[in-house]
């Protein structure tokens, strides 16, 4: 039985390996962005005095790196442009960036450092929902405002006095999609969702809102984030008699769903979430992306907006500034969340000064702020302030995005 014992040892080792992998191995920390000293603007007075410190806890490595990196780039760019234009109330702004490695413990350590030793007046981030939920209590206790770039409902519901979010929550993405489905007369939905938090939160919202819009969910399927084939789930859906398929998830799952649906010759219209509102989805799904309709923030289609769109000028301004500062890289939603957070903080600093408590109260008063993610109207009962108008419906046509009229 030597062999059997051998295998048992191998299985145990394997389990250890899985724990290692899932637990996250140490990731390299990218060098911090170069400090941007206050430069003399041609028209502005150079800021002077003690800098106003704003913390930023972002995922610059680990799975959240694609989110945190544009957020960091946006903040670095804004820090420079604000200081070039004279700072805030004559004082320079200093953004201190910490990489949480998409890890809750690292985020917590950074949060404590910001609160206890750096004494920041406000903090932007983290990039992901789990890290945000972990560090919220630190900022609540320290009474320092935290503006998250993540979208989980629990970040802003129930409302915490010191916690805000600039990311569009799922419920309004679902609401936007529902409007369209209802207008087009769809009645029977089949839902296929990622089994991760993003997918399941979407499913909850769909289950809640579908009956209210006269729709029925006839089939509900899920897939693992690392699944490589959704053929089985789609085969079941194919036989369920749905008139629309809604897929809720983040890359690469939905791209595989689109591909598999095409391979199975499923002709039922396919709808997706704002989780696929990025170039990667089109790259992965290829021709199978054509015809997929999903709610998306406007930044994806900024160049297609009409002159009457209130966000158009902000979006074009952000795009231009970001591209100039980042070698022509296209800005995305995530950088937009950081842009919105920074502008809201600066506006609140101008009206309330650098006291964290006064700052939180001022943030709560933000009205009609036209940002990248939408038009924000905050209140003591709403610390996100976006409505379903933050979204437009977008479809893919021959690999290009197009606004659905």
């Amino acid at each position: 039985m030597f062999q059997a014992r051998h295998l048992t040892v191998a299985v145990l080792l394997l389990a250890a390996a899985v724990v290692l992998v899932l637990g996250g191995c140490p990731k390299p920390t990218p060098p911090p962005p170069p400090p941007v000293g206050p430069a003399l603007g041609p028209t502005a007075q150079a800021p002077s005095g003690e800098p106003i410190k704003i913390g930023a806890i972002l995922s610059l490595s680990g799975p959240g790196a694609p989110l945190g990196t544009p957020e960091r780039d946006t903040l670095t760019m804004l820090e420079k442009s604000i200081n070039d234009a004279g700072g805030v109330n004559g004082r320079p702004l200093k953004v201190i960036v910490a990489d949480d490695q998409t890890d809750e413990n690292q985020a917590l350590a950074a949060a404590k450092r910001f609160v206890e030793s750096d004494k920041v007046v406000a903090c932007i981030g983290p990039s992901t929902s789990p890290t945000t939920l972990t560090i919220m209590p630190v900022f609540k206790k320290a009474e320092i405002p935290l503006i998250s770039c993540a979208a989980a409902v629990k970040i802003t519901q129930p409302v915490e006095k010191y916690v805000f979010s600039t990311a569009q929550p799922d419920v309004i993405a679902v609401a936007k999609l529902m409007d369209y489905l209802k207008a087009k007369g769809f009645k029977k939905l089949a839902v296929v969702a990622d089994s991760n938090a993003f997918g399941q939160s979407g499913v909850e919202a769909l289950e809640e809102q579908a009956p209210k819009n006269g729709m029925q969910i006839v089939r509900k399927e899920s897939f693992g984030s690392k699944d490589t084939s959704m053929t089985t789930q789609l085969t079941k859906i194919k036989g369920a008699g749905a008139d629309a398929i809604v897929c809720w998830g983040t890359n690469p799952g939905p791209a595989i769903v689109a591909k598999n649906a095409r391979e199975l010759k499923i002709t039922t219209p396919l709808f997706m979430s704002h989780g696929v509102s990025n170039a990667k989805f089109v790259e992965l799904a290829g021709p199978a992306a054509d015809g997929v309709i999903f709610p998306s923030g406007r930044i994806l289609v900024a160049d297609q907006l009409t002159d009457t769109d209130k966000q158009r000028s902000v979006l074009l301004e952000y795009t231009k500034a970001f591209q100039a500062a980042n070698e022509g890289k296209t800005p995305d939603h995530f950088g937009g969340h950081a842009w919105d957070a920074m502008h809201m903080i600066v506006a609140a600093l101008r009206s309330a000064g650098p006291d964290p408590k006064a700052l939180a109260a001022a943030l709560e008063q933000t009205r009609d702020f036209v940002g990248v993610g939408g038009i924000f109207n905050l209140s003591p009962t709403d610390h996100n302030g976006l409505t379903k108008d933050a979204f437009v419906l977008v479809t893919v046509k021959e690999g290009k995005w197009e606004i659905v009229k």
Binding site: L7, T8, A17, V21, F223, K226
Partner: protein, 292 residues
Amino acid sequence: MHGPELLQYLITGLTQGAIYALVAAGFNLVYAATGIINFAQGEFVMLGGLLAVTFVAWHMPLAAAVLLPILVVMAVGAAVHWFAIRPLRRAHVVTLIMITIGVSVVLRGAARLIWGADSHPLPPFTPGDSIGLGGATVQPQSLWIVGVTAVAGVALALFFRRTLMGRAMVACALNSRAARLAGIRVDRMNMWAFAFAGGIGALAGSVLTPMTFTSYDVGTLLALKGFCAAVLGGIGNNMGAVLGGLILGVVESLGAGMFSGYKDAFAFVVLLLVLFLRPAGLLGVGLRRDDQ
């Protein structure tokens, strides 16, 4: 569950199963020669896929982009043996298995640095729509996968039974001291085993990627499934690997057909059942090892 639906699950399952079989064959190659379970096998698959993606991006013809990674990953496999395993060849097999886990972490980390965290697509080997079959559909790429596995399976069986090198490898595993006395260069045989495992892993990665995309972290799950398939078929037995892979793929697909959220659990339930009930695997004979 009616006819066409069942057929579709079978097709999906057999395709997935063929991939598991290829990964299992990689485990077997190394096991047959060295007695080591090489947990970096999944990373060989990942490297094969990602290299193919890169070569396609460099505008290489698809055939070259798919075949070249096999050579590159063979070199990686040989290097893994030469630098990580060989210096410790006197160590216990369990120590060496742990080293392969370390190697897998290193390869994964390196791939992340080179290719980033995103998924990457690869075009199918033969373009075109899926083929209708009794109400179900088959992708052309599925046929490639099954075909490649069949060819690789037969080639491996012939290699171990008919060629001097293959028989020498088996000899090294059965009794390395006796093999050495018989004039077999055990070190070199072991290095070739790792190289071939790298090659077959890369082949799996290249045929798989057009169907599923690839990214730096696909290796872990594939290695787990491939390992399950190898154990199910009887580790060290190549026909067993093919059988184990196909059974595992079909069980998973049918299982997902019933409870879609728990697809991955089926592989491990199968693994546990095999270890409890028939540790030697379906076709295993329980190799006797007289040294180590």
